[in-house]
Structure formats: C-alpha cells, structure tokens
Symmetry: C4
Subunit: 216 residues, 4 copies
C-alpha cells in the first residue's frame, strides 16, 4: 500500500470533489453525470470514488467513498459507489492509472456518434500542438487513437468490452462511450485532469470543423 488510508483518502477525496466542481462549471458533468476516482493503494487495489447519482456542482469530500477491486464499498457508509465503478477498476488495473476521470460533454457526445459502430470504431487526432499535453506525446505530428466503445447498461459486460478495447489499443490515453462521454486517466489526478482539458479542447475543435478531422 503506497499510501496510508488516513491522509491519503482525505486528500484524494478533497481533490476529487474540487475537480467535480471545476468540471461542472465548464458544463462537462451536468445533471448527475460524470464520476471520478483516484487509486489509494495497489495491493490490495483500493479506489477513492464518487458516490452514485450526485450533482457535481456541490460535490464535497464527504461524497467520496472507498471501494475495492470488485467495486465493493470498503468505507462505512450507506452511499453506493458510482454505477460505473467497474470501469474505473478495469482502467486502474490494465493501465496502472493513478486516477480515472469520466465526463459527459456536448462535444464528446457528438463526436462519439460521428463514426461507424463496431469494435473497430476509433477517432484519430493528429497534427495539433495541444496533443503534446498527453503523457508521452512529444510532437504535434503524433497520431492519437481514441477508441469508441458502444454503450451498454450491463456493467460487467461493458467492463469486459472496455478491457478488450484497452488491450487492443495499448497506447490509447482515453476512450469514448458512444452517446455517453469520455473516459481518460493518468498517473496522478493532475495528469488525468489535464487529459480531460486537452481532449475536450480537441473534441470541440474537431467538432466545429465539421465533425471529422480535416486531414481525413
């Protein structure tokens, strides 16, 4: 366990709540959409994660709970973890991510719907300086692939599909759920938040130029 529960959980919970309020202000998590997590320990896997069905504009640290690698709540609380906890667990395991953020923006919803469906659906982005803010990207000439996964209310099935997609795209920084939103992650919460901002910027830019990158 790299971090003790005490200070680790409290600090992560406060940061997750602040991220939620910032994303709400930008219109990326309206309604009760969006959920956010940070890894507290690896062995055993423990996540700090948002409770289910909360508005994000007033999110507080006390709205964050702790869950294990099966998405079961470890904290003493009556609250339920986000319905999409299994997706967070899947990403934390397969990517070794320290934080996972999920948003529902207008532009990500639109772009997720602009490509044919099926396991091969991807959004490719290339040529933008802003790409350099993604971990490991050092030139605007880099081609970033964002898989698009069909939405599903069966969470174990969707988690497996997400797992398969992550395995097929080992370099991906993010994926889109169709007509649903963005999942991205990073080594730290700051990295994951930066990824959200960069990808939202790129989605808006591509969306405004006609829904498909101009170089296609």
């Amino acid at each position: 366990m790299t971090k003790t529960r005490g200070s680790g959980f409290g600090a992560r919970a406060s940061e997750l709540a602040a991220i939620g309020r910032r994303f709400y202000a930008r219109g990326w998590v309206l309604g009760t959409s969006g959920n956010f997590s940070a890894v507290l320990s690896r062995t055993p896997l423990r996540l700090a994660i948002t409770s289910s069905s909360l508005p994000k504009g007033t999110l507080r640290a006390s709205d964050i709970l702790e869950c294990d690698e099966h998405g079961r709540v470890v904290s003493k609380t009556k609250a339920k973890p986000s319905a999409e906890t299994l997706l967070h667990v899947e990403i934390a395991k397969r990517r070794g991510a320290g934080a996972v953020l999920h948003t529902h923006s207008v532009w990500s919803t639109m772009l997720s719907d602009a490509w044919a469906s099926g396991p091969e659906a991807t959004l490719a982005i290339e040529g933008y300086e802003m790409l350099k803010g993604l971990a490991g990207v050092t030139s605007h000439e880099h081609r970033v692939i964002i898989p698009i996964v069909d939405n599903d209310q069966d969470m174990p099935r969707l988690a497996r599909r997400v797992g398969d997609t992550l395995d097929r795209h080992p370099a991906a920084h993010a994926f889109l759920l169709r007509r649903h939103g963005l999942y991205t992650w990073g080594a730290t919460l700051a990295d994951a938040e930066r990824h959200v901002e960069i990808l939202e910027f790129l989605f808006e830019t591509i969306g405004r130029t006609g829904g498909k990158p101009s170089w296609q």
Copy 2:
C-alpha cells in the same frame, strides 16, 4: 399540509432564489425571463413562486411569494406572481410535482421552432446516456417524448392547452413552449433542477448536430 408555512416557505424561497442565480450564470434566464416554483402543501395547494418581471441574477428569497391553486397571492405583498403562475399550478396538480422550473435558453428556443406546429408536435430523444438522469429512465435506449405547445398570451387558454398536452403525454418529463422555452418539473427542487440541466444538455447536443436527432 405536509409542510408548515414557516420553515417550509423560507427554505424553499432561498432554494428558488439560488436556482435562479445559477441559471442566470449559464444564460438560461436572461432579461427577466424564467420563473420557478415549489409546492408548499397539497391540501390546500400552495406554491412558493417567483414574483413577476424580476431579473434572475440578483434573485433573493424576498422575491418569492406564496400563491394558491387559482394563482392568487396569499402572502402579504404588493408584488405580483409570475404571469405564468397558472401553468405552474396546472403542472403541480396534474403531475403531483413538488417543483416546476421554466427557462428560456437559446437551444430550447431553437429546437422548439424546428418541428411542425399543431397539437401533435413533439421532440423525441433516444439513445443518449444522459437520459438516465430523468426520473424513472434506466437505460439510454429509452425514448423520451417532449411535446411542443404553441405559445399564447392568453394564460387561462394556454393553461388548458398545457393540461391537455400533459394528459396526452402521461410519461413526459417536460414540454417546450414554441419560441419561448422549457418547462420541466420533479418530485423535489433538486430533481427539477437536474431535469433542466439534462434537457439543456440534450437540446444543445441535438441542436449542434443539425437541429434534428441524427437517428431520425
């Protein structure tokens, strides 16, 4: 009467004012547009409702008054209730709603104008994860119908038309007044505010993809 006038009215008035300031910040109630109500009691029906013709960016609890089931003011005040009080009463009665919120956004105004007129005009939305934030919707595969009602300055006549529309669409969470705006409601103010955010998100998404849902 499920709630006493004292604490109930004051708390609801503060919440209504805070909602008005939040909606103003997002540009959903510019000018003096928009009006908001919360049910204080059912028998007899009493509503806390915004006074007429106020800017919403500086709305305070003292700008809220109390009215009865005929839209008559019960509070000791010289202020007039919103001109559209009868619509709030109609919705509170027919839906058993605990709160009714009315906004004038750019996207709702545009979408309300994109379909043919007449009593059968509706906007259908389907396939978006965000729909799950509407009360009782549990899958993105749900089809939500939003009736579009022609605008009218004759309030009793418009209230009857709204009543008929609500009866014809018993599952509707909301309706649009043509070139006017959105009415939605919920069991609580929090539910109604969530509905506004979700529907505004969907209107913008559909509006940006060309004014009609892509699956039509």
Copy 3:
C-alpha cells in the same frame, strides 16, 4: 434637474461600473470596447459616462466622468469621455432615455453584417416570447425593427446619421452599428441592461439558426 449631482453621480457611477464588469464576464465588451452612460439631469443635460479606452473587466466608479449635452467633460479630471459620447447624447435627447448601453458581441457583430447596406437596412425580429422583455412589448407576436447603421469614424457625422435613423424608426428599442455592435437604452439602467440581455439572446438565437430569422 431630477437628481442632485452628489448622490446621483456616485450611485450611477457604481452601477455603470458593475454593468461593465458583468458584460465583460459574458464576453460582450472585450478589449476596451463598449461604453455606458446614465442621465444625471435633463435641464441642463448631464450624463455619467465611461472614460475612453478602458478595459471593462476592472471598471470602477472612478472611471466614470460627467459630461454635458455637447459631450464636453464637466468633471475635474484629465480623463477623456468615450469617443462615442455624441451618440449617447443623441439617444438621450431624442428618446428621453435615462441610460444608454453599447456592447460589442460576436453575434451582434455578425448579424449587423448579414443584411444589405444603406439607410433602409434593418433586422426584423418577431414571434419570440423573449421580445416581451422590451419596454412596451406585450406579446410575442410583436414585430421589432432594429435599424442597421453603417459604421463611421467621423463622430459628428455618425451622430447625425444615428439621429436620422432614430427619427425614421420611432418605435425602435435599439440599433446596430455595422461590424461594430449594439446600442440600446431604457428609462433606467436596469431597463437598458435588460434590453442588452434580451437582444443578445435574440441575436444568438437568430445567428445560430442561419443568420436570418427562419420566418423570412
């Protein structure tokens, strides 16, 4: 003189500064664009008006000065009044307005450019509920005419052209300067600010539906 200089000027100056900061937050007076005035007295005519070339995000009451009916500064100050002071004077005189507000938004700039030039250029808006927030309009079925005046750096000449336009359109609540921005006014600062919000809303709505009202 309906108001004394002392309290009148200070109160108006604070209100003008607060309006400037609100409009800046919405992106309606970027750079050093925009200027605002309030009538302090009618006989002789005295205006509180923004100094020239100031950013509006940090506008303070001390940035407001007093000028007479010829646009000459009456306050003891080295600051210059807005270059467009003569337009404010013209509107205050011909309309009896108590306040005049001028903004430069993206949508007003775009719409001002979408119609043929010449003295007959107008933007007509009809059918929107939001129109009822304009002084004297009681139904969405009202047709509002907004004249479009060609821009000019010769202020006395532009002021005469504005005067002629106001005379030709006695019912107009506002006019657009081509590729420049919006002028509107009201009996009070609150009325004029409401007019700005309503007209900006309508410009964005019309602009997003293709640059021309759909009913044309």
Copy 4:
C-alpha cells in the same frame, strides 16, 4: 536597465499569473498550454516568463522565472522556462515589445488551419470596429495582416522562421502558429492582454461566419 529586478520582477510575476488565471477561465489556455512573458530590462535583455508545463488555472507569481536573451534561466530555481522561450525572446528583440502572450484557443486553432500553408500564408481582417483596439489602428477600415507560421518542434528553427516572418510583416500585431495558437505582444502587459482579447473576438466572429472573412 529601465526597471530594477526587485520590484519589477515581483510586480510582473503577479500580473503574468493573474493573466494566466483569466485566460484559463475563458478556455484559452487549457491543459498546460500557453505561456506569457514581460520584459524586465533591455540592456541586457531580461524576461519574466512562465515555467514550463504548468496548468494556468492555478498560476502563481512563484511559477514565473527570469531568463536572459538566450532563453537561459537567471533566477535561482530548478524550474525550466517555457519550451517556447526563444519565440518570446525573438519577439521582444525584433518588435521592442514589453510583453508577449501566447494562447491556444479553439477558434485560433481552427483559423490557423483554414489557409494554405507556406511562407505566404496570412489571415487578413478588415472592416471591424474592434480592430481599433490594436495599437496604432484608428479606423475600422484598416486592413490587419496576421501571418500564419507552420508549426515545428525544433525551437531554434522555429524561432528563426518567426524572426523572418516578423521582418516580412513589420506592421503585424500577431501571428498564428498552425494548429497551435496565437502569439501577440504589446508595449505593456495591458496592451498585450487587450490584443489577445481583440484577436480572439475577431477569430470567433470570422470562424462563425464560415472560416473566412465574408469580404473575401
């Protein structure tokens, strides 16, 4: 040296940090994009400049460092200056600018991509009143030329290309890096910030009217 290091650096650092937070709020420097500098002295040339790879929403004066005319850090700090420091130095030298600001907005990214590539690529803007906020422009009839420079990760090479472009366009107030963003400058930080606001306004206006100025 026109300003002493002491008070000069601290004041400039605070101003640069405040500009960063304002631009972040408008969505012009998402991720860790954008960098800002102010000239502290001319002989020898010294710049206060943002450290590399920082989010701008929480920028503080302590995130600013001092560098010389070769882009080398002069401050005692382990932080690295912005990767694009050489571009700031180039602009400060060739234009005598007192401040240089670089932003990554959606509209500037889109417009930088809408013209053919090559050393002759330029965006011409004419006819807008807002142009008068650019230093030395006194009429909307002025034609402003904004060169578009192809992006490059080789900073010394890009700095030379920028230098050549500045020499070829001695009247330019700004240039665009293709699919990257805006560089503009001014005699003071306030002038440079005003230029950013004006150019962003014009990019959005031109972008929304179809990506090319309507008079072309």
